[in-house]
């Protein structure tokens, strides 16, 4: 389970080329970070269908809107943090007019560990999921990236897909196992449900392993599609007493919050794990940074255990 698969952005860049081969309506837009997002692979293969609009994220979203109006399928790529520079444009043009623009944001969460707080995006799930018409996806590994990218290209309507930079422990082996809109139960268990997205799915599986040593059996759900939010999740959660959420995002407003909203009418006990409403910082390695924010499997196992056993030390 813990063998690292191909990097997330590599998977994205390569799959994009494959999609481009089959679908000539796909146009890729970049705001001068193509080498980093790996959208550059598409540029190399289809220079005419690739546009580096420069360091102008707002303009990029407007151009994407225009291309969608003309019947193309624009894929607007960039670092998650800087795409949010264009939040209002995404809101007022793309989302409001329900335009067929696919936004793929890389370097999300803490994955851009070196660059520090200006680059580490911990807010995008919140900002995107509250937009009407927007579909929001957070694939958990490179297999999911490929699978979901393929699916959103054919979907009509705006999509936001969030991926990290490289680190991507293997969660899936087959692309068919990841279906847009369908949460995946990866492990069964009846003491607690862990709902996770992104690379936190890997950490959820590892956490489960550690909890088993204490005889706590966790059900693990990969919520790769955060919007539309599938109500089956409610049913899945009913199998356990308590629910926890893992995400590489501020604990406010993100996936955990979406889960709270969905389950709120039913009186579940839920605890969210993520970044505790502070900014990121630089680090020379990713795992070290996750540890610092207590999002590694050992910290998580300890935190979940204490929640399951009822003494909520932290709150």
């Amino acid at each position: 389970m813990d063998s690292v698969s191909v990097s997330l952005r590599e998977a994205f860049g390569e799959k994009l080329v494959k999609i481009g081969e089959k679908n000539d309506k796909v146009i890729v837009l970049d705001a001068d970070v193509g080498a980093s997002t790996r959208s550059s692979y598409f540029r190399e293969r289809f220079p005419k269908r690739f546009l580096n609009v420069g360091i102008s994220e707002q303009d990029m979203m407007g151009i994407a809107a225009g291309l969608a109006i003309e019947g193309f399928i624009p894929v607007a790529t960039g670092f998650a943090m800087f795409l949010l520079r264009a939040w209002e444009q995404i809101r007022n043009t793309i989302s409001r007019d329900n335009l067929n623009v696919k936004i793929v944001a890389t370097h999300a969460g803490l994955s851009d560990y070196a660059d520090g707080s200006s680059h580490q995006c911990l807010e995008d799930i919140a900002l995107m999921r509250i937009l009407p018409n927007m579909n929001v996806l957070v694939p958990s590994d490179s297999v999911s990236v490929r699978s979901l990218l393929e699916q959103i290209i054919v979907l009509k309507g705006p999509c936001y897909m969030r991926i990290g930079r490289d680190y991507s422990p293997k969660v899936y082996t087959a692309e068919e196992d990841v279906i847009f809109g369908k949460p995946n139960i990866l492990e069964e268990g009846d003491d607690v449900t862990i709902v996770a997205c992104g690379i936190m799915v890997h950490f959820a599986l590892e956490t489960r392993r550690i909890l088993l040593e204490d005889n706590i059996r966790a059900q693990v759900v990969d919520l790769h599609t955060i919007k539309p939010l599938n109500k089956d999740l409610l049913r899945y959660c009913e199998r356990t007493d308590k629910v926890v959420t893992f995400e590489e995002h501020n604990v406010l407003g993100g996936m955990g919050s979406a889960v709270c909203e969905l389950l709120s009418e039913k009186g579940f006990k839920i605890k969210r794990f993520g970044i505790m409403d502070i900014f990121g910082e630089s680090s020379r390695d990713y795992i070290g940074l996750l540890q610092k924010f207590e999002l590694d499997e050992n910290s998580l196992a300890k935190r979940v255990k204490s929640f399951v056993e009822g003494d909520s030390i932290e709150s």
Binding site: G54, S56, Q58, A65, G66, I69, D97
Partner: protein, 357 residues
């Protein structure tokens, strides 16, 4: 309110104005006999007209004569003179090549009508753009399915002017102009594609239209199709940085199918542009961003039409037209410094008379 008045509704409306002192049911029986239209059909349509506030009548046990409401009268007035200019789509034919005065009067009256009805909407900013939008539609007939040209009203608060021109071109029915900002109306406060498809992109938040125009222009080039993309910008709107991002993108991509028209009325919402942010030297700005620039008297629709036709034939680069305008559209007693202005009934009638005499 998604649809315009149908034939039967128009008939009812004009008959009501000629037939006084009938109760609703007596009126309908009479009309049915005269027109041969089934009573039930007329009944249904009358009910719709009442719901939309165009006619009023009593009810069972409390009979009152049927009559037009204030709005109903104005809608009828509009319908009437539209008949005179030979109905939808044909409007162009009736306009002499060099004499747009009548056309403009009608558009201006429609704008005033919309805003008087709604008691909201931005009259000065709409009047400022009326000529320009009229000229654009005259030359490019944009946004309808058959058209190869696209128009974006980036200064979305001039929506009433857009709607008036659209009505003039039969894209909207005049009747709908009475319903600016009404719930469910196609005429939202700012152009809204969810309600009105011909608005190709929703606006209202300033500074975004030019980027969308760049995207459409690139799209047309990728598809190898002809057609111009015209974007109308406010001068104050140029203070949004996104405009300059888009301006750079346009020249970097050699968009010789993109035209930006700047409604240069020298005022923004809270002051004169030169006092707030100093836009001059405006033409140098555009030039230094790689655009061709043409300055034109934006109060003269014939000049605008002429220039647009020239550009259509000879464009080599993205082209900015700086159109010098006045925010009262030439209606002297409206203060062109003011951003908000809702006419009173007296002013409304006065403007209406002035315009269509």
């Amino acid at each position: 309110m998604e649809k315009a008045l149908n034939r039967n509704q128009k008939l009812i409306l004009s008959s009501v104005s000629r037939n006084l002192n009938y109760t609703a049911s007596a009126f309908l029986r009479k009309l049915s006999k005269e027109s041969g239209i089934p009573l039930s059909t007329l009944k249904l349509n009358l009910k719709i007209l009442k719901e939309e506030g165009l006619v009023e009548y009593g009810r069972v046990g409390e009979p009152r004569p049927i009559k037009l409401t204030e709005v109903g009268k104005i809608v009828l007035e509009l319908l009437d003179y539209r008949e005179n200019v030979n109905d939808i789509g044909d409007c162009e034919k009736s306009v002499l090549e060099e004499d747009y005065r009548e056309l403009l009067s009608k558009i201006r009256s429609k704008i005033v009508f919309e805003i008087y009805q709604a008691k909201m909407g931005h009259l000065p900013s709409s009047l400022s753009s009326a000529n320009i939008i009229a000229a654009i539609f005259q030359v490019f007939k944009p946004n309808v399915t058959e058209s190869k040209n696209s128009f974006i009203l980036s200064k979305g608060h001039a929506a009433p002017a857009l709607y008036a021109v659209m009505a003039q071109h039969g894209i909207l029915d005049d009747y709908e102009l009475a319903f600016l900002c009404s719930p469910g109306s196609r005429l939202q406060g700012h152009p809204d594609k969810r309600f009105l498809q011909e608005v190709i992109v929703s606006t209202g938040s300033l500074g975004q239209g030019l980027s969308v125009g760049v995207g459409i222009a690139i799209g047309k080039k990728l598809k190898n199709v002809e057609g111009k993309v015209v974007v109308l910008l406010g001068d104050g709107e140029l203070e949004e940085g996104q405009i300059w991002e888009a301006a750079m993108s346009a020249s970097a991509n050699n968009l010789d199918n993109l035209i930006a028209i700047i409604d240069r009325n020298f005022y923004q919402m809270n002051g004169a542009t030169e006092e707030v942010k100093m836009l001059e030297p405006l033409s140098s700005k555009w030039k230094s961003f790689g655009w061709d620039v043409i300055e034109v008297d934006g109060r003269k629709i014939d000049e605008l039409v002429y220039i647009l036709r020239e550009i259509e034939k000879h464009q080599k680069k993205p082209t900015a037209i700086i159109a010098f305008t006045e925010r009262n559209g030439g209606i002297e007693h409206i203060d062109r410094k003011a951003f908000y202005y809702i006419p009173t009934y007296v002013e409304y009638v006065r403007i209406w008379r002035e315009q269509i005499g």
